[in-house]
């Protein structure tokens, strides 16, 4: 598997997206972007991504969380690593009272804070994809 890895970014802030897309492009990834959860879901169903970079706070609240949960319920998509990119690491529990949104709510997820340093983003992305491939290889 030497072809370029495909990363989908779902984030409703086009300026922020440019910032991380440039890093991922520079890191040799092929990136695609959806600017809302609906388009994002449609793209995911099309498939073929090695990693999803997902914003938590989109639209009218934590729509990213809903999307992440949907992904985890999908038998195919659940195998895809998800890197949560959020600006609300500490406030996350406060914002949705009664709704536990712990950063570790899906076991294979990683979480980075906005803004994210380029090296850190590339390192997390690489590690998540590698871990997913290892899991797949182990399962075969």
């Amino acid at each position: 598997m030497s072809e370029r890895k495909k990363v989908l970014i779902i984030d409703d802030d086009p300026d922020f997206v440019e910032g991380i897309k440039a890093i991922l492009d520079g890191g040799g990834y092929e990136t695609e972007v959806s600017y809302n959860p609906k388009d994002g879901w449609a793209a995911l169903k099309k498939g073929g991504y090695d990693l999803l970079c997902l914003d938590i706070m989109m639209g009218r609240g934590a729509e990213g969380v809903m999307l992440a949960r949907k992904i985890r319920k999908d038998p195919v998509l659940r195998e895809m690593p998800v890197l949560i990119i959020t600006s609300i690491r500490e406030q996350i529990a406060f914002l949705f009272p009664g709704q536990a949104v712990h950063p570790g709510f899906v076991p294979v997820d990683e979480l980075v804070e906005k803004p994210v340093e380029p090296e850190l983003l590339l390192q997390k992305a690489g590690a998540l994809i590698a871990a997913a491939e290892k899991r797949r290889a182990g399962a075969e």
Binding site: G19, K114, P115
Partner: protein, 383 residues
Amino acid sequence: MSEEPRRVLLIDDEEVVLDSCLAILEGTDYEVATAASGAEGLEKAGEFSPDLVFVDLKMPGMSGMEVLEELSSRDPTMVAIVFTGFATIESAVEAMKRGAYDFLPKPFTPEEFRAMIRRGLEWRRLLLETAALRREREALRENFAAIVSHELRSPLGAVRQNLFVLIQELEAVISEDQKRRLERMSARLDDLLGMINRWLRGFSVDFAGLQESFQPVSIEEPLAEAVESAEGEAVRKEVEIATMVEPGAVVLGDRGTLAEALLNVIGNAVKYSRPGGRVTVTVGRELQKVVVSVKDTGVGIPEADLPRVFDGFYRGQAAESGPGGAGIGLAVTRRIVEIHGGSIRAESEPGRGSTFVITLPALENPPAASAGPSEEASKGEAG
């Protein structure tokens, strides 16, 4: 409810009263509904949602008093005025006790009636405005963290993210000086993001939840951390931080937030010190308490302000230098200290300096876990 209040409900069992009131109001732009009994009045009030209700006190069946009570319990901003047939002061006073805004003795002139309506509706408008402002304030308070998080942090985050990339991409083509300036911009943005995070903490973090993970903490550890963090600013201002720690002071708590609390106090002491001043941090033990006092030789706090320093958004008038803070540090500090079952107080001599004393319950036999949350502040003297 942005429209002008103008819906008036009249409740009276005397048809002649209702008819004459309607006649008086004919040609005005009030919306008027009438009811011939208390029960009907309440029903009408439900569907008509009036701004102003006139209620006759003496009616067969449900009395005017009962109607009043029910109305004001449904909507405290609904304005009620009672018609008093036999104008006794007692019944009028009683009605006002039960929430009526005013009373209108029968018989009344058209002009009296119209004037009363104007006054009643004006009062309703004020009540609605007040209620709206209060709701807005509550919503702002409740959602502050969410609002700040998304509305302020998002654009800053996007800018910062692009700076990361720009610095990398331009590295080969820009001069050292240009690069230095870009990095300076990044640092300023990081400061700003950090400040917003600290604000958010003050408003939103569930400090009480920390108690579940309390552990024995030797106070020297968070203290060392706090002093180290304050040292940079102190060196710049040539302020000396001296610490005198009696060993063995252990509390049950959370090391990180304790360090934050201590840093807030020590950082303030440095901030409000004059260049060349001295901040003295003393840790002592008194009975079952650990007493941390932070004494500076700075500008001090006016006596009138002392009670307010631990409220949110207090800022010393005399901050002599630096960009200052959000005025929330001491409020956060007090919350942290109180979560630890302790207390904090301030003493000051304007012009000569201030002393902040944090008192925490001591953990006598670690790791025995019992922290007395109700202990009083004890007298602590700075060294």
